[in-house]
């Protein structure tokens, strides 16, 4: 379904969606992040990309798995705690971040479905926004199979045509949101469609960074496991973990028990994000560590994204959002690392 929504009608439409929990980018202290929105007028779809991707809504940094307590009958009681049911809408999702969720879906489905992830994922509607101009200098979505107007994972894609939005509804869920407020929308004219095509084509030209011959990289990496390349590339790494913390496709996690009372026993089991760049991530309780240095940990990050994930799911585990480049405090640039991989003489 394709429609036109004037900017004047935008908040009118959002008001009709009040039964949903609505997330949108909010500016705080010069940083944009997704927050729950109460006032429709406060949604400003024109923003650079958020610091954290909407991953944090579907897969929160900390979530409760279960509660446990001592009980007289069986000694222990364990109660499953699943996320609440209320459907949510995320406004202004960048196409790369929506694509990231489709990649993470691969991990959380399969033989062992993750009920926490899917409960949130299935009740969340994603409304994307075409990147007419790149939200970051380090965007490189075109190199990894995405685009500034990619529809992957989105329910609706909005494209800014100055005084109005071109609305492309891509799923049943998207159609439902439009049907809730039919009178807010107009039919697109031939000129609108032409403007859309022009803007979307132009959006691709605006992406300045790229990884050439990226298709050669997975095979190349396979032969580079035991090379000194990783020692050199990781020299400046301070193991802060910001690269994977901000990455919309990184999904590694930890599970820990938080005890509120030890006698009688009462507490929660929680999942939190974890980070392959931290030394104790893989350390055995014996002290043995299969990834004992930052070279082996940087190698894991690159190989997971550009070799192992490709072998498993036929896709790079990277959407080219550029966050890990822009925010790395020591300037490790994944594009430069991959350029060097491609040109590395074996």
């Amino acid at each position: 379904m394709e429609k036109i929504l004037t900017k004047k009608s935008f908040s009118k439409w959002v008001k009709k969606l009040e039964s949903y929990k609505i997330y949108a980018p909010v500016k705080n202290d010069d940083l944009w992040n997704y927050e729950i929105i109460d006032i429709p007028e406060s949604i400003q779809p024109d923003y650079p990309n958020t610091v954290l991707s909407p991953k944090k809504i579907i897969f929160p940094q900390r979530e409760i798995f279960l509660e446990f307590k001592a009980s007289n009958e069986e000694g222990l009681e364990v109660k499953e705690i699943l996320p609440e049911e209320r459907p949510a809408i995320i406004f202004g999702v960048r196409p790369c971040d929506a694509r990231a969720l489709t990649l993470t879906d691969n991990v959380f489905k399969g033989d062992f479905e993750d009920p926490y992830y899917w409960k949130r994922r299935n009740q969340t509607i994603l409304i994307g926004l075409t990147c007419n101009i790149p939200p970051s200098f380090d965007c490189f979505c075109l190199s990894v199979g995405g685009s500034p107007h990619s529809k992957d994972g989105l329910d609706i894609l909005m494209t800014d045509l100055e005084d109005k939005y071109y609305i492309e509804s891509l799923t049943k869920k998207g159609n439902q949101l439009i049907n809730l407020a039919k009178d807010c929308f107009e039919e697109p004219k031939v000129m609108d469609k032409k403007d859309l095509e022009k803007i979307q084509a132009n959006s691709e030209i605006q992406i300045k960074r790229q990884i050439k011959d990226i298709k050669k990289i997975p095979k190349k990496l396979k032969g580079m496991f035991d090379t000194p390349f990783w020692d050199k590339e990781s020299l400046s790494c301070i193991q802060c973990g910001i690269c994977t913390y901000l990455c919309p496709t990184c999904h590694c996690f930890d599970i820990n028990d938080e005890v509120a009372s030890s006698a009688p026993l009462k507490g929660k089991r929680v999942r939190t994000w974890d980070n392959c760049q931290f030394p104790d991530f893989t350390m055995h309780s014996s002290g043995h560590n299969p990834r004992p240095d930052k070279a082996s940990r940087l190698r894991q990050r690159i190989l997971h994204k550009f070799q192992y994930f490709v072998e498993l799911y036929e896709n790079f585990q990277c959407v080219g959002c550029g966050r890990c480049i822009s925010k790395c405090p020591v300037g490790i640039d994944i594009i430069e690392v991959l350029d060097k991989v491609r040109d590395y003489g074996l």
Binding site: V78, D111, F253, I255, D274, T282, H284, S285, Y308
Partner: protein
């Protein structure tokens, strides 16, 4: 989805046996699920054991799937969860989820001689497959166990080993000489070289510390074993047990669900990250 993969099933500890004392103690725990369920495992599989309030730890199941009365775990006291387990008493309740992992392909080994090679607590996963082979004795050829530990006091399943000697060939070893020890003195790989098990129609299963496994494989290759005849288990740190938390991988393989059992033909092609 009809069940939550992260919720452990509660089980009661029905028996605790102290296998090894001293500074590296090992205890065997027999457990019984509180509520009936469809848990059934293959030899070589593991389960995620919960001590609620402390966390979870992936432990191999040392009892044979042929045993229906209990699940047994033989555990070296090492980290937070295993230390808490060692403090538990009969009647205490733990959580169990699983079973996880591929297990040993024992159906494919029918008609073959099986050579089990273990070091220290590495006998735990072997115990499950060895006892299954014993339970279906007619399906297999000769069974041989080559097992060693630092000292005679560090050998697990000591009582059972005495019984086992009446049924199959057992070669024991200790690392250093001690009074009254009549069997081999030296490391497990040296005992393998000394006893020369025949590669003819044989499969070997090796479990133990990584350094031992490395040299046992070398010894077996010297004796003429093919890569496909050599099986071993790998361990890595795990949190989820179901291939999602991202830390136990060796290349694209997640040890928790794609392992822990590998033939040397498979393992030698994977990066050395274990």
């Amino acid at each position: 989805m009809d069940y939550n993969v992260y919720i452990p099933k509660l089980a009661k500890i029905i028996e605790i046996k102290e296998e090894v004392g001293g500074s590296r103690p090992i205890k065997s725990f027999r457990t019984h699920f509180i509520n009936k369920n469809d848990f059934s495992h293959r030899c070589g599989q593991s389960a995620m054991i919960s001590v609620l309030g402390k966390g979870e730890s992936m432990i191999s199941i040392s009892s044979s799937p042929l045993v229906k009365d209990y699940l047994q775990f033989s555990i070296l006291k090492m980290g937070r969860v295993t230390t808490a387990l060692h403090e538990m008493q009969v009647g205490n309740v733990i959580g169990i989820r699983g079973p996880y992992g591929n297990g040993f392909p024992i159906e494919e080994w029918k008609g073959k001689n099986l050579v089990f090679i273990g070091g220290g607590i590495g006998l735990a996963p072997i115990w499950s497959v060895l006892n299954t082979a014993l339970g279906k004795r007619e399906d297999y050829g000769d069974l041989i166990l080559i097992y060693g530990a630092r000292t005679s006091k560090d050998l697990v399943f000591n009582d059972e080993l005495k019984e086992l000697k009446k049924k199959i060939t057992v070669f024991l070893s200790v690392d250093v000489e001690e009074e009254g020890w009549k069997e081999f003195v030296g490391f497990v790989p040296q005992n393998v070289t000394d006893k020369k098990p025949s590669p003819k129609n044989s499969i070997t299963v090796t479990c133990g510390p990584p350094i031992m496994i490395k040299f046992v494989i070398k010894a077996l290759k010297d004796l003429g074993f093919e890569d496909e005849q050599i099986y071993t288990t790998v361990e890595n740190k795990m949190k989820c047990g179901i291939g999602k938390c991202g830390r136990c991988n060796i290349g694209k393989h997640y040890v928790c669900k794609d392992g822990p059992v590998y033939s040397w033909a498979q393992l030698k092609n994977l990066p050395q990250e274990y």
